[in-house]
């Protein structure tokens, strides 16, 4: 019944690859940012918080354009990266992953931050009296107890990355085989009158991928919660 054309198969694989990469690479930064916002006070903290929420507030296309300005091969930062290290994310699936990561980042940070704030700091105090240095406290106490928050953050971010379109198409365009994720492919088909059936197929495919991913994430979340039973 459901025979995937090569283009459709490629779109699914690309979507999964881009989203997994986006979430995986931004997770450490997301945890660190969430911790900083949850635990530290410093001048400019509100500014940092607002900056992180820009992708939520501003149209995705604008974010994509900003990424182009910053990270394009000729961009303010991207140009330097290209000249110094020869690396560029323009027009590649890595660029799509960056776009997805940026759009998903605020969701991830919010979820993780909430769970860090919910941790009883008195437990961290107890750990310090037992001889744990601050970094040690973070890895042995804070991080494990944030487990369920991290799972939620990852799920949200992954979902957002899967559906990311506006920033992606603006930053890295549609490169066949590189950036033609499910949403990008869906958009293209939807623009062409007469391609309805193809578009519907992609919609169904997207839903299946999304459900599958959420289901898997739920199972992992349950496991994590079991390990911290009693919290």
């Amino acid at each position: 019944m459901f025979d995937l054309s090569p283009a459709e198969f490629e779109a699914v694989l690309l979507s999964l690859k881009v989203s997994l990469w986006a979430v995986g690479v931004s997770l450490p930064l997301g945890i660190a940012t969430a911790w900083v916002l949850a635990r530290l006070e410093f001048p400019g903290k509100t500014l940092l918080d607002a900056l992180i929420h820009v992708p939520l507030v501003v149209p995705p296309v604008v974010v994509g354009y900003l990424l182009l300005l910053l990270l394009g091969r000729n961009g303010y930062v991207g140009g330097w990266l290209y000249e110094t290290f020869g690396i560029t994310v323009a027009f590649s699936w890595q660029g799509a992953a960056v776009a997805a990561a940026v759009m998903a980042f605020p969701l991830m940070v919010r979820a993780i931050r909430l769970s860090i704030e919910a941790i009883d700091t008195r437990l961290e105090q107890a750990a310090r009296t037992l001889g744990a240095r601050p970094i040690d406290v973070f890895f042995s106490i804070t991080l494990p107890l944030t487990g369920s928050g991290i799972v939620v953050g990852v799920i949200l971010a992954f979902a957002r990355a899967l559906g990311e379109f506006g920033a992606t198409i603006t930053f890295v365009s549609a490169i066949p085989g590189e950036t033609t994720t499910l949403p990008v492919s869906l958009y293209t088909l939807a623009q062409i009158p007469g391609e309805e059936s193809g578009a519907i197929r992609l919609v169904v495919l997207s839903l299946i991928v999304a459900f599958g991913a959420m289901f898997a994430a739920e199972i992992i979340a349950r496991r994590v919660r079991k390990r911290i039973a009693g919290t």
Binding site: L123, R128, T129, G131, A132, A229, G230
Partner: protein, 363 residues
Amino acid sequence: MSLSVDIRKNLGAFTVDARFACAGGITALFGKSGAGKTSIVQMMAGLIRPQNGRIEIGGETVFDSAKNIDIPVHQRRVGYVFQDARLFPHMSVRRNLDYGRRRRGDGTGSSPAFDDVIDVLGIGTLLDRRTHLLSGGERQRVAIGRALLSAPRILLMDEPLASLDAGRKAEIIPFIARIQDQFRLPIVYVSHSVDEVLQLADTMVLLADGGVAAVGPVEDVMNRPDLVRITGTGDAGTVIPARVTDTDAEFGIATLTFAGGDFRVPAAGLETGRRLRLRVRARDVSLALKKPEDVSVLNIFEGTVTSVSNSGRPQTDVSIDVGGAIIWSQITRKSLSELEIAPGKKVFAMVKAVAIDDPVAHP
């Protein structure tokens, strides 16, 4: 092992300004709720920073505001037992116990042995349990074990029994005494409970409104009438150290010898040689000018009146020197006047009831 504390900090509602020193044994920080006790031990541990002052533990200066010394918490080598245990919920009992051991306990060589600790605290059967399945008493014992295994040079216990019921408290107090014996670890014990202090402590730091009202051996501080208001013992009374010298199985009477003679008290299960503290409340003591005969009271002592408090109220407190120990008696002013009781007079003190503080071996 010495401890010297000299600190000040403004806590909003009042200011902590405490200065005391102690050497070894169990030192109680005693005072009413809100007297600043917890703040002081938190400053000793480094969890709060004093505004100025100096703290020295075991010869090492861990805090000195003048010299800008402030050793971080994890390097102070203090074991801290919190009122709410604070066991790590994502770890089993064994991993909780290992937490401090792995960070400080192994390398320094001064950590008590794992088996000894679980033995003394009786937590061997709990090792693989998750912490949320433990009872309150079990949690506190694990918390104590965890702190012990982190190779501390001093143990700070912040009202560790406050959230337990009487039965659990009675269970754990012997354990605490045992760890002091077994591991020779100085303990600072914060409490607002007279019972706990009397059963466990050697030295007492009496705190009121953030300041130190008195420091000294427990009996001395508890017996000072001017401190009764703070110690909150309610009625005037005496704390008397005594030793079990005889037991009578037939009538269930134990003979407790003290400086002024022998008390005979109904008590079961006491071994000869055991040391304890007795509390004699003033209202349980009557006076006679002649030695009474054919009375039911077993404990009658001859002594000399040393002071009389005359505040104009219907009752007065009379202190009597009995062989060096002081016993207080509360009588009516009318009797005082009729018997012509005044300092220097020879009287007989009849002690109707004696409270033995659930005895704990005290070397």
